[in-house]
């Protein structure tokens, strides 16, 4: 055979393998409103950048007549490519091939590309669309999952790991996404759960649909398992591409800098925040007034909305924002919001992203359910994450900074590099009403008109303590600033922190309150 003929033979073999599960299965996939694995990869990566490996891998299962079955690529497509020129490793499970079920060779393809991404220090993107373990391969499938989980853990904090759920992802399979940094879901397509509706019905007698149990909205809103929610697959890919622009390739680098841009004119910082600490506003507008081009990329938008986390750029550089949201539950910290914030701070710290904290919270959410849900250990995660982080850390106190909330939100005491306060800031051990009632309990009780006395004492307390100057007098905050200078001050703080270098006591690892 000539070289030409042999090349022809290769192309023929490739064309067959690239068909995956064949026309019928592809039709079925399309009928479900889903793209095929190959279409997904091509839609996500830069044009002509995808290079596939292990296309000709075959399974070697013999039991249950598996030896007679040809499964192209063993149900998963793996390779490398670029997104806006940044290199990534990628795998996409192919639901058209045996339902994307995970057999031993399927798993080996995934772990091979994972090893590659860790070795090359580039982000890993995994597109999940699989019926689960390939039952015919028995414990070998389980072994495959275990080896994936292990690599997820090993790579955690070294390379960014992104999971995209574009189909079912059930049983043990969901633990790989859960171990990665960011999980993307799409409405009506993503389904994540440990035990499905049928098992729940037979064992427990509870009836629930797949969508209600572990659909995209549930994961984005209720459980917090997902970080990004999209209406369709193309929107999801746009979100992934955008995320890639905000994060570095690995933990040894910084995110790519972009040309600086001023925030858009419609966001006027001094008009957003009411001076009355009891009045709500959308803290995301404050962030938009601070970041380049007013472009704020929010993470976990729908989950625990009483805290806002996400990425933006200040003077072209990626910054992570953590901000109390007075619009929702008055911006309190609770179990979910603590969890959300702590994880995001740890992400930023692992990947050299400076953290900017915008503070305006009355404290922790009161309630039996919160106490019993472990708000102590969840709340402690925030303290841990801030204290542990060695990236540049800047806090702006917009209004309320009371009690435990003041300490938790990147206070000076947790090794913040810069703490600034607006003139509207109230830094105090608790809100004026509560404090006055405790301190002046006797005076109020014994007064002829207790209510008038109470009001007067609250007023006195407010004037004396509900301001930034008591904390400034102790040096707990570095400076009281005019609101309109906030962006300039942030730019400066980040600029002068570029070479920040702080030591940590030697340890294997800490014991965060997981």
């Amino acid at each position: 055979m000539s070289l030409k003929q042999k090349t022809k033979e290769l192309l023929k073999r490739r064309a067959i393998a690239e068909q995956g599960g064949g026309d019928k299965a592809i039709q079925k996939q399309t009928a479900m409103g889903k793209m095929t694995a190959r279409e997904r990869i091509l839609a996500l990566l830069d044009k002509d950048s995808f290079h596939e490996y292990d296309l000709f891998v075959e399974h070697d299962a013999r039991d249950f007549n598996m030896d007679k079955k040809v499964l192209h690529g063993d149900g998963v497509i793996t390779g490398t490519g670029t997104i806006y020129g940044s290199p990534v490793c990628i795998f996409a499970q192919d639901f058209t091939v045996a339902g994307g079920s995970l057999g031993v060779m399927h798993a080996r393809k995934i772990t091979k590309i994972m090893d590659h991404s860790l070795k090359m220090r580039v982000p890993l993107i995994g597109i999940n669309d699989s019926g689960g373990a390939r039952i015919q391969e028995g414990v070998n499938s389980l072994a495959g999952y275990g080896e994936i989980f292990f690599r997820n853990t090993l790579a955690s904090g070294v390379i960014p790991q992104i999971s995209v759920i574009l189909g079912p992802c059930a049983g043990g399979a969901v633990y790989s996404p859960a171990l990665t940094d960011f999980v993307f879901v799409v409405d009506q397509i993503s389904k994540m759960f440990i035990t499905g509706p049928e098992v729940i019905k037979t064992v427990l007698g509870e009836e629930i649909t797949m969508e209600e149990l572990g659909g995209a909205l549930v994961q984005a809103e209720k459980t917090g398992n997902a970080h990004f929610y999209a209406k369709n697959e193309m929107e999801c890919f746009d979100q992934i591409k955008k995320l890639i622009t905000f994060i570095p390739w690995n933990n040894g680098q910084k995110a790519r800098a972009f040309p600086p841009k001023e925030p858009r004119k419609e966001y006027k910082i001094e008009d957003i925040v009411p001076s009355d600490p009891k009045k709500p506003y959308d803290v995301r507008d404050v962030i938009r007034a601070l970041v380049d081009d007013s472009d704020f990329f929010e993470v976990q938008e729908r989950f625990a909305a009483n805290i806002v986390v996400g990425f933006g750029r200040i003077n072209g550089e990626t910054v992570g924002f953590v901000a109390n949201q007075p619009l929702v539950l008055a911006g309190v910290l609770d179990t979910d919001s603590s969890d959300k914030a702590a994880r995001f701070i740890r992400y930023c710290d692992a990947f050299n992203v400076p953290v900017v904290t915008l503070e305006d919270l009355p404290g922790y959410l009161p309630g039996v359910d919160q106490e019993h849900a472990g708000v102590i250990r969840h709340g402690a995660k925030v303290l841990y994450a801030y204290s542990e982080a060695t990236v540049p850390k800047v806090t702006i106190i917009l209004r309320k900074a009371y009690g435990g909330g003041y300490i938790a939100m990147n206070s000076r005491h947790l090794r913040a590099d810069f703490v600034f306060a607006w003139p509207t800031a109230e830094i105090a051990v608790m809100g004026p009403e509560g404090a006055a009632n405790i301190i002046f309990r006797k005076e109020i009780k014994e007064a002829d008109d207790p209510e008038a006395m109470r009001k007067q004492k609250v007023k006195e307390y407010k004037e004396k303590f509900a301001n930034p100057y008591v904390a400034a007098a102790k040096g707990y905050i570095d400076s009281v600033i005019e609101p309109e200078t906030t962006r300039r001050i942030l730019m400066h703080s980040i600029e002068v922190s570029a070479n920040k270098n702080v030591g940590q006591p030697k340890k294997k690892h800490g014991i965060p309150p997981f």
Partner: protein, 108 residues
């Protein structure tokens, strides 16, 4: 859809005696009010199937006497009496599947 079109109203929300104006979340609305433990009510701690009922209404039981067997997650859980009681009412039947937090028996 009509409900969505309406602009949600701010609610009053109290922390440390200060009243804040804010939105509340679905999760906050759905939270369950705390109920103190009532020893006179036998509540299922796990969803499952009533395999056997070992007492009758009106029967006196001692502390530690078996009351019923609740099968859940392939385990047969023998439910014992917390104190000495008289069985007032049995709310479940043999073979019945019960969700979590179901009232199964009452005592006096």
């Amino acid at each position: 859809m009509e409900e969505k079109a309406k602009k949600p109203r701010f609610k009053s929300f109290i922390v440390d005696e200060t009243v804040y104006k804010t939105y509340l979340t679905k999760k906050y609305h759905e939270r369950r009010a705390y109920e103190p433990h009532n020893p006179k009510k036998l509540i299922s701690f796990i969803p499952g199937t009533i395999l056997k009922i070992l007492v009758k209404e009106g029967q006196k039981v001692k502390k530690g006497d078996p009351l019923l067997i609740l099968e859940a997650m392939k385990m047969e859980n023998e439910i014992l009496s917390e104190r000495a009681f008289k069985v007032k009412k049995i709310h479940v039947k043999k073979g019945e599947t019960v969700p979590k937090n179901t009232l199964m028996m009452e005592f006096e």
